[in-house]
């Protein structure tokens, strides 16, 4: 039964895959990678939650293959590894096969990677989206993420420009500029994502508001489609999402509502409504961490890829994008890199009507979700900050965004 479902999903995702295939290869950054002619003597193992039929995992697989090819390192990729003891088993099997570097791509893999890291102190274990490396004090366990909130902010600017165009053409009035967002869980990563996206949109379209709905799953095509449809019937004139299926973009294409995507562009499946996308390019991190593992150099407990390292990618827009979007995005991107612009500038948003001056975020994972670190610094919310952790921890509910359901 499960196989049949995955087969159906695979068929549905083919469209999405074609879209990704068409994307231009992102400019590879030379983040700390000083490859000479000397070949690295290491084997790299990769553990993926699903296979290349999931846009999320495909993004990792593509990055892993590219990085290993560039470094001349043998890659062993294990797909369809669930978030349970199978992950520990897979990690140990990779070590048995001689891997000196093991990477896992899904949040739920983290605890099992830690178990494996404790057992094999000579092997470097890296994990994307995890939260525990900075408190676990294991010299061979590391987390990585990217400042994707900057990518979403830029993608949001494209959405704001489109809203402005719709207002100018008389399609909607200024106060109808409502964005809908389909999220997976009420998790900080999702909250940080839709908030940054919204702030980007509002920076160019001041009357923009947002409604968010949650599906309770990272991949549920039907729920995502229904979520998008619900938002549209609620009066949302623009949709974006943070979940991994084509559900929401497809609903948008059917209804003719513009959409921004994540992990990859959707313009081959949704040519009329695809506006913008952003994604994390994992290749710079793989190059950096594999090189360090091979040379015996320390890998940081937390790595945050940025626009500058080429880890955050927004390089491609749809054909129906508003005029001037690319220039506006490029200008904002330059300001973000230069540090002149901060996504979570406390002057640009309020929480319960008040400007934020202090906030203790839940950076160190604990069962009681207690705030433990001050994250307001120099007038902005210091997301994925130095000395804190790479995974997002922005979990505030700002004014202008309405959450429709928070069951998840």
């Amino acid at each position: 039964m499960k196989k049949i479902i995955s087969l159906l999903l695979a068929t549905a995702m083919t469209i999405g895959l074609c879209a990704c295939g068409g994307a231009a290869a992102p400019a590879a950054a030379d983040a700390g990678a000083d490859q000479g002619s000397d070949k690295l003597n290491i084997k790299a193992g990769f553990i993926c939650l699903h296979d290349e039929n999931s846009t999320y995992d495909l993004n990792f697989i593509t990055g892993a293959k590219a990085a290993c090819e560039k470094l001349g390192v043998e890659a062993v990729i294990k797909t369809n590894i669930p978030e349970g003891q199978e992950c520990y088993d897979a990690a140990c099997e990779l070590v048995d096969q001689g891997c000196g570097y093991v990477f896992a791509d899904s949040f739920g893999h983290e605890d099992y990677m830690i178990e494996a890291a404790k057992e094999y102190p000579d092997v470097q274990f890296c994990h994307a989206t995890g939260t525990k490396a900075h408190t676990e004090n294991l010299p061979n366990f590391h987390n990585a993420f990217a400042s994707i909130y900057e990518g979403r902010y830029l993608s949001g600017i494209a959405a704001g420009m489109k809203l402005n165009e719709m207002i100018e053409s008389g399609k909607i009035t200024a106060d109808q500029a409502k964005i809908g967002y389909v999220g997976a869980f009420t998790y900080a990563e999702v909250i940080s994502g839709y908030t940054s996206y919204f702030l980007g949109a509002r920076s160019v379209c001041p009357t923009a508001t947002m409604e968010v709905t949650f599906t309770g799953s990272w991949y549920d095509e039907t729920a995502e489609k229904e979520g998008a449809t619900k938002l549209m019937s609620d009066g949302c004139v623009y949709i974006s999402q943070h979940a991994d299926s084509m559900g929401a973009p497809t609903a948008c294409e059917n209804a003719g509502v513009p959409n921004s995507s994540y992990n990859g562009p959707t313009d081959s499946a949704c040519p009329e409504t695809f506006i913008s996308y952003c994604k994390i390019n994992w290749e710079p991190y793989f190059e950096d961490s594999i090189t360090k593992a091979a040379k015996g150099e320390a890998i940081p407990a937390d790595y945050v890829g940025t626009l500058e390292t080429g880890s955050v990618v927004i390089d491609h827009f749809g054909k129906n994008v508003a005029p001037g979007t690319e220039e506006a995005v490029e200008a904002a991107k330059a300001d973000l890199i230069a540090g002149k612009l901060h996504v979570f500038d406390t002057k640009t948003f309020t929480v319960e009507g008040k400007e934020l001056t202090s906030y203790m975020a839940d950076v160190d994972t604990d069962p009681n979700y207690e705030g433990d670190h001050e994250v307001i610094k120099d007038g902005y919310f210091n997301e994925s900050g130095d000395g804190l952790r790479s995974a997002p921890y922005f979990d505030l509910q700002i004014d202008g965004i309405t959450l429709l359901d928070t069951a998840f």
């Binding site: 797909t79 369809n80 669930p82 605890d111 994972t365 069951a407």
Partner: protein
């Protein structure tokens, strides 16, 4: 075809009892043909040497000591679920609710680990985990059996529906116990204190489920074959009317047997949560509650034959993962091969039950054993 219409080209006759050796030969023959068909499909669609694919399937299951242990551990889990369902199947009570019963057992174990892990001594926690797993799993078997006894409801539907309730309950508690907030994941429970973790026998992570499976296999065999309960189950399965006639309380047998069936599934939930994964997710059973139905049927409800059938399924699944990694093929390719092999294994039962005769021209066609190429 110049036949006079008297004798068709092929005709079938129902076999009587077939010697077990002959039946085994037919099955073996089916597997050989399946492997040949798989080889052709592999060669035609991927261009990879089928022998290499076969050898890496074996390597995937037994390539290292760890791989072999994991294979046996997975066989054990699937086997215990299959045995649990078999008890019910023997009385023609179609328990399709293994998935939900496993989940409920897991939920009971996880609840004890999370809520009591740091409050009570470890041994007490483990005893409570065992009790709550058996009780919750048993409850999930009891409810459909009660409905069947009282209102003669269709147990296939009700056990199936109970799965969805169990899944939703587990999802609810996953959100309740999630760490960090909003992630929808519980993570490893008591990762530092190991409270409520089932003990490792002889220092091996993988041994406990294997030993449990051996005990349960012997128990189920003896229970069905040599006890009064087992006798009643068989009579109910053969003919409910006869059982009423000989004075067996049908309702009591339904309920008692389903509680046992559910409790054994609950035991698997305990092993998965307390012994193997140390976490709870709604997918922890990974469809094995349904796969076990196939395992049980393929073994014709024989506990010892089930060792072989669950082994075939796990072996192919582990192999599928290995060929996905080794040849950069999708895991689905391994699943296709598994499908072909199962098709032949199940299909060959036809040739065990029926004898195929070809027209020979003689009046009395001598019985041929198999007809491979039809």
């Amino acid at each position: 075809m110049n036949s006079k219409g008297k004798e068709p080209f092929i005709h079938l006759t129902k076999r009587g009892a077939i010697p077990p050796v002959k039946a085994m030969m037919i099955r073996l023959f089916a597997v050989v043909i399946a492997l040949i068909v798989c080889a052709f499909i592999t060669g035609l669609t991927t261009g990879i040497n089928p022998m290499e694919v076969y050898s890496s399937i074996i390597a995937g299951a037994f390539g290292s000591a760890r791989k072999a242990w994991i294979t046996f551990q997975d066989v054990s889990i699937l086997l215990v679920i299959s045995l649990a369902l078999t008890i019910a199947f023997r009385m023609k009570f179609w328990n399709i609710g293994g998935e939900g019963q496993v989940l409920m057992g897991g939920l009971g174990a996880a609840a004890c680990m999370i809520c009591l892990g740091d409050k009570l001594p470890n041994a007490v926690v483990i005893v409570l985990m065992l009790i709550s797993s058996l009780v919750l799993g048993g409850l999930w078997g009891f409810i459909p059996a009660l409905c069947k006894s009282l209102w003669n409801t269709n147990e296939t539907l009700s056990t199936l529906m109970m799965n969805y309730i169990a899944t939703q309950l587990v999802l609810f508690y996953t959100i309740k116990w999630e760490v960090p907030k909003g992630s929808g994941k519980i993570g490893i429970i008591n990762q530092d204190s190991h409270a409520g973790w089932l003990p490792q026998l002889f220092g091996s992570k993988y041994l406990l489920p294997i030993i449990v499976a051996v005990i349960v296999t012997v128990f189920v065999y003896v229970y069905i074959k040599y006890t009064k309960h087992g006798y009643e189950i068989r009579v109910v399965g053969e003919s409910p009317k006869t059982s009423v006639y000989v004075g067996i309380n049908l309702k009591k047998v339904f309920i008692r047997t389903m509680i046992l069936s559910g409790a054994l599934c609950g035991l698997v939930g305990l092993l998965l949560v307390g012994g193997i994964n140390h976490t709870l997710t709604s997918t922890i059973s990974d469809g094995r509650g349904f796969t076990a139905v196939l395992v049980s049927w393929m073994a014709q409800f024989n506990p010892f034959a089930m060792i072989a059938t669950s082994f075939v399924i796990v072996f192919m699944d582990r192999g599928a993962g290995e060929i996905a990694t080794r040849f950069d093929l999708n895991q689905s390719f391994g699943d296709i091969l598994t499908g072909i092999i199962l098709f032949f294994i199940i299909g060959c039962e036809f040739f065990i039950n029926y004898e195929v005769h070809f027209r020979t021209g003689h009046k009395n066609a001598a019985g041929r054993k198999e007809a491979g190429s039809c």
